[in-house]
């Protein structure tokens, strides 16, 4: 207790250092109900176990490979939803926008014969423009985002039908790069392992540098052993995943792309001024405004991001299906994307949530959907079971969160 770091001087703090301290910390946080994504992961493990017992194909490598690929499109849309929810708004039109974007892509690429990159770029830009318009309507007129995006839902569905026009459904050529990317391109094994090692090394390195900097500034910091343990754990998990998926087809590039987007969003949200502003606006817009934050710009930026991600998701969905048609993006795309964000711990009231939540949430949803699909149930039973399992997955999370002394809507 001799030389206390600057941030550990209050005598009411229970000091914890080293590995043992880190463990005590986790237990303390568990009691307090503040476990981050751990409960969601536990919920996921529960579901996986149940589904695996019911049908041994579920956890087979081949099925998990499908699962990763099927998660990507809606997962990317959910990533955008996380951003909008963080500022306490909503976007109901992501389904329509994704459908429209797929349609525009198909028309430009197949119909007009433009190069694929140009068609993709056009679709993405269109998504961004839609988001920008939402932002303007929201900032200028103060129309609730629910209504703006509901109007968008209808309008872009109409536009999607219009764009597809007399064809109704447009095939994307199976041998085009885009379709290959979404269906057949897998990361070679050696590269996957390399990625895993890079991630682990990077985690250790950045942690170590950060700890050194903190120690120099006289602040408490994680010990090297804790950092090393964390990196080794990550390496083990990643290597296992790569190995297991590698039993069949491996890790799809589309999934890697999704994970990369999650990482980028995680960085933007947690390590930039913009990210801080997003959380601040979601927590208390008036406080954010008084702190000199350009609240309107923040709103516009998240709407743009969300629509853009929706457009990207739509392109990938079209690529995966190798077709754009009238019902793309309709049905439960909206609900699934929002539900993925919420299941991943994003609050509908703003100010709480992470990019990783979208990843976890969509995996929960796709697991349920894929697992029940394998069971070959009657539609009616399948719907009922899906609802029940979904509830189950979230109850685990909520119960753990429950014990936290809640403040209002915290």
């Amino acid at each position: 207790m001799s030389t206390l770091t600057t941030d550990r001087q209050d005598e009411r703090l229970q000091n914890r250092d080293g590995l043992r301290g880190a463990l005590a910390d986790v237990i303390e946080r568990a009691r307090g109900g503040d476990l981050g994504v751990i409960p969601v992961v536990v919920g996921l493990v529960v579901i996986w176990t149940v589904l695996q017992v019911l049908n041994p194909i579920f956890l087979s490598s081949a099925n998990l490979v499908n699962l990763t690929l099927e998660s990507a499109a809606v997962g990317i849309i959910a990533l955008g939803i996380v951003c909008v929810l963080l500022v306490g708004q909503i976007d109901l039109s992501v389904g329509s926008v994704s459908g429209l974007s797929g349609a525009v892509l198909a028309v430009l690429f197949v119909g007009e014969g433009l190069p694929v990159w140009l068609a993709v770029a056009a679709s993405v830009v269109m998504g961004a423009v839609i988001g920008w318009v939402y932002g303007q309507l929201f900032n200028r007129f103060g129309v609730p985002s629910f209504v703006i995006t509901l109007a968008g839902l209808l309008a872009f569905l109409g536009l999607q039908l219009y764009v597809l026009g007399t064809k109704g459904s447009i095939n994307l050529p199976f041998d085009s790069g885009l379709v290959n990317f979404a269906q057949l391109d897998f990361v070679p094994a050696w590269l996957s392992y390399t990625f895993a090692v890079i991630a682990a090394v990077w985690l250790f390195d950045s942690g170590y540098l950060h700890a050194r900097e903190r120690r120099r500034a006289g602040l408490s910091a994680r010990g090297v052993s804790t950092l090393a343990l964390r990196s080794v754990a990550l390496l083990a998990v990643l290597a296992f995943v790569v190995w297991y998926l590698g039993q069949t087809r491996g890790v799809g590039w589309m999934f890697v792309f999704f994970v990369a987007l999650v990482l980028i969003m995680h960085y933007l949200l947690s390590r930039t001024k913009w990210g801080r502003a997003v959380y601040a606006v979601g927590g208390n817009v008036e406080a954010a405004r008084r702190a000199g934050i350009n609240v309107k710009a923040i709103y516009t930026s998240v709407f743009v991001l969300c629509s853009t991600f929706a457009a990207v998701g739509g392109i990938l969905a079209a690529a995966r299906l190798a077709a754009a048609n009238q019902s793309s993006g309709s049905g439960d795309v909206n609900l699934n994307a929002i539900a993925a964000a919420v299941i991943g711990g994003t609050s509908l009231f703003g100010g709480r949530g992470t990019a990783f939540g979208a990843l976890l949430g969509i995996i929960v949803i796709q697991s349920i959907s894929s697992g029940l699909t394998l069971l070959n149930l009657d539609s009616s039973i399948r719907f009922v079971v899906t609802g029940a399992v979904l509830l189950l997955a979230v109850i685990v999370d909520s119960v753990s969160r429950r014990s936290r002394t809640s403040h209002g809507r915290a």
């Binding site: 500034a217 801080r276 008084r290 934050i293």
Partner: protein, 253 residues
């Protein structure tokens, strides 16, 4: 020379005239106390100066130029830093994040360490009793929050600092530190507007006292030439008031 001059500021909320024709002058290196009864319009005046509400009429002159302050960002740019009575912190962010909100160090790759170090410095300076700066503000006590809000206003390089009842929730030691701070700010040539209901504090640090009553100017006094009783009489609009009656009642016992 006056840094800040207000002339004829008025503001109406619905059917309530919160401010009517307010004048105020603040010079560099001067501490102006604004006092008044509850609902007299003090905070409304503060909000107008910091860009939260636009005034209905009247002019604001800052460093000799007539200015408009349509948004809080504009006030920040002019160099007006404010501690609001309702604090305006984001409950979901932690102490460091709140302190540096809108003025983070290294916007594209936040410098946690520098921000945390600076936070501890500021808080120590105010004698804050905050166990950890990494807890969300929702978990802080009233006084701890107020300290955070005050520390916030010292970041950046303001020319005018407006403190709306800064010591209301503070403990005795923290109050003393804030009064010390106000004196330091004055010495550094900043203009300070301080709102307070505590006459002892006002008399201790203010140079002049401006009294508001029911949304109107009710006199500006030089602190050295005015008694507490006179100020209270100006605030309540009568020499016979609850305070004086209580004082009398107290005397015989």
């Amino acid at each position: 020379m006056d840094v800040l001059t207000l002339r004829g500021i008025s503001k109406t909320f619905g059917a309530v005239a919160a401010l009517t024709g307010i004048d105020l002058d603040v010079a560099a290196g001067q501490v102006v106390a604004v006092v008044g009864d509850n609902g007299a319009g003090k905070s409304t005046l503060v909000k107008i100066l910091s860009g939260v509400h636009p005034p209905d009429s009247g002019t604001i002159t800052f460093e000799g130029n007539e200015v408009e302050i349509p948004t809080p960002a504009a006030a920040h740019k002019l160099g007006i830093a404010t501690v609001f009575q309702d604090l305006a912190l984001c409950e979901n962010l932690n102490v460091i994040q709140n302190l540096f909100l809108g003025q983070e160090i290294r916007p594209l790759r936040l410098n946690d360490v520098a921000m945390e170090t600076r936070s501890w410095e500021l808080l120590r300076q105010l004698s804050a009793k905050i166990p950890s700066v990494r807890v969300p503000v929702a978990a802080l006590s009233g006084g701890q929050r107020q300290t955070v809000a005050i520390a916030r206003s010292l970041l950046g390089d303001p020319k005018i600092i407006i403190l709306d009842e800064p010591t209301a929730a503070l403990g005795v030691a923290q109050t003393a530190e804030v009064l010390n701070l106000v004196e330091r700010l004055r010495e550094n040539g900043l203009g300070v507007i301080m709102i307070s209901h505590n006459m002892a504090d006002v008399k201790a640090v203010a140079d002049t006292v401006a009294v508001l009553r029911l949304g109107r100017n009710n006199g500006v006094f030089d602190v050295s030439e005015v008694t507490t009783e006179d100020i209270i009489a100006a605030i309540t609009g009568a020499t016979d008031n609850a305070v004086s009656r209580r004082a009398q009642k107290g005397t015989p016992s």
